[in-house]
Amino acid sequence: MSDSTDEVRSYTVRLELVDEPGALLDALEPIASNGGNLLSIFHERGNLTPRGHIPVEVDLEATPERFEGIVEALRGAGINVIQAGAERYSEAMTVVLTGHLINTDLSDTLSRIQEATNATVTDLSLSAPEGTEDASSARIRFATEQDAAQGVIDTVREVAADKELRVIEPLGPGGDL
């Protein structure tokens, strides 16, 4: 691996959007047109910033050079970028939980993990083929700070043990092996 500026890294951008139709789409356009690869969008509906705007968290991949262009383009389009950079969330990590996820309050499970760590859930996919009473599975992607992935895994394990859920962990903290 080299430290060349051509290397694609992942970034998290926090945006404030006005509550108007099309605002999200307008915000994503500068990312795509400046060579960013969108990984996930976390739209915090119902949660308003002090200015009454809607906070949106966007994970994307880009080279450092392109990332600068993206932030400039966003600002140029009048979009409020509250935080941008790799320093906040630089690692993505995926786990799968299985078991009685619904009966054990999935939203409480996620809150406990997020409260105990600095991780943010950026993607959640649930599969409950037999209905909510039976065992189901959830795939959860967390964005974590650099080198904090192991701490998140440990917390996921603890909470899962508490609720008798099964954790399928990624191989290696980043899951890239």
Binding site: V96, S136, S137, R139, I168, L171
Partner: protein
Amino acid sequence: MRLAVLGAGAVGSSVAELAADYGHSVTAYADSQSAAVDPDGIDVERAFERKETDGIVGEDDPEAALDGAYDVLVEATPTTLGDAQPGFGHVEAALQRDRHVVLANKGPVAERYADVRELERESAGTVLFEATVGGAMPVLSTIDDFDAEHITAVRGVLNGTANFILSRMGAEGLGYEHVLAEAQDLGVAEADPTFDVDGTDAALKGVIVANVLSDDGTEYTLADADVEGIQDIEGSALELAAEDGRTVRLIAEVVGGEVRVGPRLVPEHAPLAPTGTRNIVQLETEHAGRLNISGRGAGGPETASAVLADVGRLPELQ
């Protein structure tokens, strides 16, 4: 070399059958009830026929095989846990007679590694056990070539049955029970697949690797491994993983003095996500990056090849 082959299952019988091909003779062949012993070499075909028709391999007692003339004892009786008997006793008897031992039986090196090494130190014989980890794949000899000191981690898919089940579940969206039944019909899973699916078999192999890598004399046994199986993996978990370009594999991992076996998320096209019964071991080396060894991790002739490769590595006895 003259071989005494203990164990007449898939591996033992293949060793006896292939020995001549590798320039060796079989001077004893035994199952748990009987033995064929001849210092000039037994008639292997005849022993197979008798096993088929009379249920015995020859007229001698199994003990006679241990006491007979041989250079190398090939221990291919079933793996047992705890005191690893009777396999351990066979190793002991051969080493006390200053004979070499080649193991296909995982028990002695997974459960009583320090005892085996102690016996070996006092003997003119050498103990090799390539066949105990990864069937035909040269895992232990590669670790030996690189020197355990320069290997920082070993990860792998070391159980073909579990891998077959997980890859079928992932590919076909089928449930665990359904795929297990199919695997049993195909002969990929045994009637009692417990050790394959609960992670024990992969853990024994991980423990053996940990013993080989151990640089401070720490001995590992199955009790030191953190083991989870695949029995309660939901089909929906594999589906969700696939949507994200990943899959689930039963991975044995030896790193930092810890042995861990459990289902893990791996990228779908990663080396550590083989399909079917294929095995793979990934060595993380200090100076040469990652090294992948893949191939057939089980089977009579496959495992026998590893046994015979070990025989070829042994020094001539004085």
